[in-house]
């Protein structure tokens, strides 16, 4: 699985892109976030406030119940703030 991080999630994890082998028992977005928190350090900090994290699987916004699998591109980021006032 390919993991991408943007904005302050990227800054806290210190990583833009990485290859992640899905651990056993991780089959949904919620389980993946929980696993990220368990990695400690910047990851624990980035994923500590899970309500502020948005997730896209294969470039589509998804909810926390969405499945994840090897081969997916999973992106983690804050709520978007494009556009203009």
């Amino acid at each position: 699985m390919k993991a991408l991080y943007f904005a302050w999630v990227r800054e806290k994890t210190g990583c833009s892109v990485e290859d992640v082998t899905l651990p056993k028992g991780v089959g949904t977005v919620a389980e993946l976030i929980e696993w990220q928190m368990g990695r400690g350090g910047g990851y624990a900090e980035a994923f500590g406030d899970a309500k502020s994290i948005r997730v896209a699987v294969n470039q589509t916004h998804v909810g926390t119940a969405h499945p994840v699998a090897d081969g997916d591109e999973v992106a983690f980021f804050p709520p978007v703030t494009g556009g203009t006032p």
Binding site: A7, W8, A56, T81, T84
Partner: protein, 155 residues
């Protein structure tokens, strides 16, 4: 048509393209978003827009397609910049062309409201004390939600 780019754009040229060669267009509604020098947290010097290449184009194309499915549009346009921008710089241009003005106005408004909650862009403001990631606004969510109950505009 959607575009994600570093460079500025020429509003007049872009809007003219929407009706060029299409004599059925009665009106073009557009919205240009600009960087302000002041936010609720104070004065800013510049900002950097980060985005998610690939997903951004996909999200904008989806929003554009949704607008065409809801209103009778002859053409539409979303151009969004990324990278470093200064106060006064253009950030975004959305536009909708239709035979009648109601459809053009509603579709254009829809494009910018949806873009603000769906397109993966993040703003880092440079303030006097360093960089600050801009928080999403609740009223942007509310603005996007209001379109959930709008089916199709009267022409």
């Amino acid at each position: 048509m959607i575009r994600v780019q570093l460079e500025d754009f020429d509003v007049g040229t872009e809007l003219a393209k929407l009706s060029d060669g299409n004599l059925g267009v009665g009106g073009v509604c557009s919205f240009v978003g600009l960087v302000r020098d002041m936010t609720k947290d104070g004065k800013i010097g510049a900002m950097t827009l980060e985005h998610y290449p690939g997903m951004t184009e996909k999200a904008l194309a989806d929003i554009d397609a949704e607008a065409h499915s809801r209103w009778p549009l002859q053409a539409s346009l979303i151009i969004h910049r990324y990278g470093r921008l200064e106060p006064g710089d253009r950030i975004v241009l959305v536009a909708a062309a239709s035979a009648h003005r109601e459809a053009a106005f509603e579709a254009c408004h829809f494009l910018i409201d949806y873009l603000k909650t769906r397109a993966p862009f993040w703003k880092l403001e440079q303030t006097g004390t360093g960089g600050k990631w801009v928080d999403a606004r609740d009223d942007d969510d509310a603005a996007a939600r209001r379109w959930h109950s709008v089916n199709k505009a009267a022409e």
